[in-house]
Symmetry: D2
Subunit: 422 residues, 4 copies
């Protein structure tokens, strides 16, 4: 397939495949953002980009500067419109706003980032077989955010004729994977006047034709990057002269798993990545690790995060090393509003391709939680809904794909719900 240099003449299915082929991981969505912004402005939406779409200080898990710069360069080389790349500077994601009438402000939140994983390249995988697998090694739309972006644009097109009594705000959020982009967008200010918010996810093992009117009970979650910094020394000659960062990391890991279970509900802790890299005869001067905690509630998650910080601090003291921690990402919990759920159910019921409407537990974590809570705290209402998509393999795996019919259903259900909410 040809790489698109503008979206306006393409169908949503073509756009989804183009985005799939140019998968951009979190905080690297330059091409995605620029192409979306270009058409949204054409459609009459005011477009807020880069530092104007988020609170930049709240961004988490931002890749090293040189990687971000390389992703920006890559987008330009692939023909992304320079004007929009310039306007976003080095921050991805966008908020598109159009006032049609004096009615309420309705928000629709979709996320646009890919995962950092390699896509399957064999013929068992439709994107590979049909030529739209990711051209970026190690980046893949394995969670359907390509379809989310297409749905968001589809909703924008739906209202482009201007027949709507209210304001429509479309949130195209960067860096959902890892829970890195939700909080900064929630604190952009653009959520503060939203009366009703809809967030959407495709797939999640539901078939095409099923609409989940409410995903409930997500887990709160926090991801912490930790670096212990000590001093190297020759392990044979004078081990005492070192300050052993690996011993600190080891003490931390052993005790992190031992954080007390909580009487108030489920908690989790895991260390997924550890790295210390020296010759065998050198006392480790640096060790890094990536920790994740979870809790069945926001407070349980905070308990785990607080205890994690104590353990890390104590481990560093023990071995006389320094350390730095950075939040890689964070999500919280949310509860959908019954009124919005019911509106979604009415909208789904009115959509002919929908044959099953259910409510279910979410199971995972989502940083849409921050946007939903922001809206609710200001008196608004919100719901997180799902669109079945026949995904042939699990989310985050190399063979993940979706049936693009889900995009059309998503646009229809959300479009109808938006009109009803106004």
């Amino acid at each position: 397939m040809d790489t698109l240099t503008a979206f306006s003449d393409a169908s949503l299915h073509e756009i989804r495949r183009d985005l799939h082929a140019h998968a951009e991981a979190g905080w690297k969505e330059f091409r995605t953002t620029a192409l979306l912004a270009a058409e949204l402005e054409e459609l009459g939406y005011g477009v807020h980009l880069g530092a104007d779409s988020v609170n930049p200080d709240e961004r988490m898990g931002v890749p090293p500067e040189n990687e971000v710069a390389a992703a920006r360069e890559r987008a330009l080389e692939a023909g992304a419109p320079t004007e929009y790349i310039d306007r976003m500077s080095d921050i991805t994601g966008l908020v598109a706003v159009r006032k049609f009438g004096d009615g309420p402000t309705i928000g629709v939140r979709t996320d646009i980032d890919a995962l950092e994983r390699q896509e399957a390249m064999d013929d068992d995988h439709r994107p590979a077989r049909e030529g739209f697998a990711s051209v970026h090694p190690g980046e893949m739309h394995a969670c359907g955010h390509d379809a989310h972006a297409a749905i968001g644009l589809g909703v924008a097109r739906e209202f482009a004729d201007g027949e709507f009594d209210g304001t429509l705000k479309l949130f195209f959020q960067a860096a959902e994977e890892g829970g890195r982009g939700g909080k900064p967008m929630a604190e952009s200010g653009y959520l503060d006047d939203v009366d009703h918010l809809l967030a959407v996810h495709v797939g999640l093992d539901e078939p095409v034709g099923t609409v989940v009117s409410s995903y409930d009970a997500p887990l709160a979650n926090a991801k912490l990057d930790v670096t212990f910094e000590g001093e190297p020394a020759h392990a044979g000659g004078e081990p005492n002269a070192g300050r052993n960062a690996l011993q600190a990391a080891t003490a931390a890991i052993g005790n992190l798993y031992g954080i007390a279970r909580h009487g108030g509900g489920q908690t989790r802790v895991n260390v997924g990545r550890v790295n210390a890299d020296n010759a065998q005869n050198v006392i480790c001067e640096e060790a890094t690790m990536r920790v994740e905690v979870r809790g069945g509630t926001h407070d349980l998650n905070e308990y785990m995060l607080g205890r994690t910080r104590e353990v890390i601090d104590g481990a560093a003291t023990m071995h006389d090393v320094d350390y730095e921690t950075g939040l890689y990402g964070k999500t919280t919990t949310f509860e959908n509003d019954e009124s919005v759920i019911e509106t979604v159910e009415v909208a789904a019921d009115a959509t002919s391709a929908v044959d099953r409407i259910i409510r279910k537990e979410f199971g995972g974590s989502e940083d849409a939680s921050y946007l939903i809570r922001r809206v609710q705290r200001r008196g608004g209402t919100a719901a997180y809904l799902g669109i079945g998509a026949n995904n042939p393999a699990g989310h985050h795996t190399a063979y993940f794909d979706i049936d693009e019919t889900a995009i059309d259903i998503g646009v229809d259900v959300i479009g109808t719900a938006v009109r009803q909410l106004s």
Copy 2:
């Protein structure tokens, strides 16, 4: 045997057996001190007792107040002279001083405490067979300090006729076991004008007839008592509500053994005792432990002690508990002066019962080190010597005993050396 109520009419062998039978552990040597003081005053020595024989603030590893009071009471009940018990108040040990002439001041240091261990009570053990095993359960002269006290008194008797051109200072030190009494006596002020100091140990696996003119290269050593204090909680209901003192102790112990070996020489660390005592369903609110570190030099010992403190501090931080540490005891290293060693060798050579004179490594730790260093820092000289004693079983074991001939040899060699040093 009858319990003595005064030493003056008894032989040194009888006195040693009486002390053996009334073994008093560290900081509990009330009867021993009082009986020694009584005869020393009779012999014309000025006697400094209790808070006047040590710097009380430097005392380490002092037993709980009620145990000390019970030991004092026990001494009175056994007929120890009340006057001296009163004068020492609640601190044991003494310094005896007599100026005979204008010559130099010579010090002799002996220690007087027993060990906290049970003595063998069967007929394989001569003290049991001959009726002078310890009457105090759990206290035993298993390191020959009963003989040391007798030697110190013997030297005092030797010079009682007044024929000596100098000042004699006899240090009867309490609480050598664990290294608890040396530092406070070293800082009493009485060492500051000592020109030459002799310290002595019997046994140490040498036969009667052998004199060790110089024990070299003792290890520096420090013993630390640690208590972690957290909060209890029901381990089933809300384990999160506890602050787990046992997890802190566990983290500490694991990491203490992992303190880096030192390129500069031998180091040691050990935890000998750990205690946490709750029902199985209670998060431990308190855990105690006893740590020992050693180093081939004073600096290596300080390295280990410093790292130990860091590990404990970090472990407490990790598990959000409080902690207290107290030095249970401490020793340092010393080097004997060649001039004093040679004097001892001449004295030993002049003693007919001596048939072998050697120098050797000490192997263990000794808080005479503080007294020796104090003398040397002021320009004096010192040596730590040994008297073979045919001990049938190892030091600190239940069957330890000595051949009392060693007492006579000790008095002869030290007496002769003292005269030569003046």
Copy 3:
């Protein structure tokens, strides 16, 4: 108060106070068992004692032989009837059976052991103020089993006139604390023909007048005693020659708390007691610890117990030490039968002193679970019920007490329910 030497002339309130004053901890209930047995035989019940009331091989957490012997001796000295002490040999607890008619067999299970804890002795505590606090230091009826025993006897008295068409089996179980006595009694054979079983607990923070017709969802629980056995060595001279039991225990504890949380429900792990006892300069040759695990289901508990055994085994391998483990106690889960619950509710409703009937979660663990499961597996039905008792302080605390009215209510409710079940 006077110590009773027979129960037959005493009221249930007097008997409860007598038992409270002579609190006997698990597997030491010689006096309690003997006095109960004596009256039960008088009342016409057949009495099965000692090894005839349990499967002796299944007994857990039995104290050392000398402690059991001392408790037996203590009972005799307090005037417990010798005949029954002789018949029970060295095993406590009893099963009393009487066939009144051909109707069904109804079982009533009460437990009779005290806790190993000191009772408050000040006037704020009614048992102390009124002279029936425990005369056994370190043993206290702090969980109401004294009242349970009285209720069991009260039910026996209730039916002594013979008017009942069925068989009554009364289980007076030893060693419920720690979950040590339930499994052996469940495997005695006496449960196998029980058609309906009632088990009862007083207090549990409910007021007098409340009956809990069903305590639900107890946690399964297992308690493991662990001893690591290594080799001692001098920590200064040759630490390498030791096999360090404390390092093994430390490695075990650190990793026990780190056993993975379970996706299937709540789990718990705790180490309540650790002991290693050496001088500071000795590599620990022995370390003991007491571990408890729990699970929201039997399988979750087995998961924790299995992982615990792996951790202990690995820790011993790591430090080249031997180890032994012994189950100190174990409980499982149970579900009450709706038919029995409803019978209890009818009986409670018919009792004038009862003003509130509820069902609630149990929260803790109970080894009645084994008896209940045994009955149910054979096709019988069962329920675990509660009788409010105005306990002024929490269970297992020094100021625990009950309002003895609860005994009367218990006898009434159970008696009525037993008649209805036949």
Copy 4:
């Protein structure tokens, strides 16, 4: 500089620079071996290559097959003589033998591998400035083995005229870094009839003009690669389903540092590299680590290695994971023979460029130890000597270099010593 395709017309200085420029790390020395072999055959030596120069089963720390193949390919592309590459198949290193007369067999051992590290490329570094820095990124002659190879060839040239009454055996050993190649060459059989062996090292912070006639007291050392293999699982959904390789590694590391110090002398342990690499929400299925132990004697090293294996085994048991270990490398201790040392001293004395002859401690580890021990066990004698080389920066650092005069001195001293030993 031009890349050499044959050594025979080049000077030793040119050859050293050519080898420096084409640094080949351990078990990758294809070009080095081939070019040396070609000239050695020209000079009349019998050349044993590949599997004929070592016991292949004893090779340690061999890189992955594809890396070895790539190194072989690289050598061919750089013009290394195909015949010799073919003859060595996939194993590097060579033994060259020539019998000149009936006298004794004299061995000379040099090593030929580079380090896995990046060379400095700026003008402060002479090899960079003068154009002979390594063309292989991440490989560098930072320990002078390029000079060793040149010295070995220089000695071969020295005797090429045939005037020598004995047999000369030249050992060009691969993979000395990490101690990977010594043992397999020692067990090739070629050492078994060597009467006298000389091994040599340049640099080691000595100036040009200094000869170290005997390096003493190397440490024994062993390097172990460990991989723990468990099962992944979703850390949020069902952490219990995983078998956590990282927890096993953590338990191992914490306890490895805690291996008891040894009363018999210095020991060391270090973990230089740890790697576990998953997303934060995945229980680690694999963790790798590189461990090094050392001992002041062969036995102390074996003690550490044995304890290391126990700790790893126990850690795997604890967390129910599998593991594999592989020796990355190993060295032992040796003692030089006085007769050979004195011969070296005479030879050095006869060399005009030598102005200082010393003996000193080696400090590090060397797998020439295995060759030396092999010769000595068969009744031969050996010494490990040093040639000062003005190295401007420490061994193993990016700016390491040598003064090539050292090559000439090395050839002279060794040549003279070889003649004297025959």
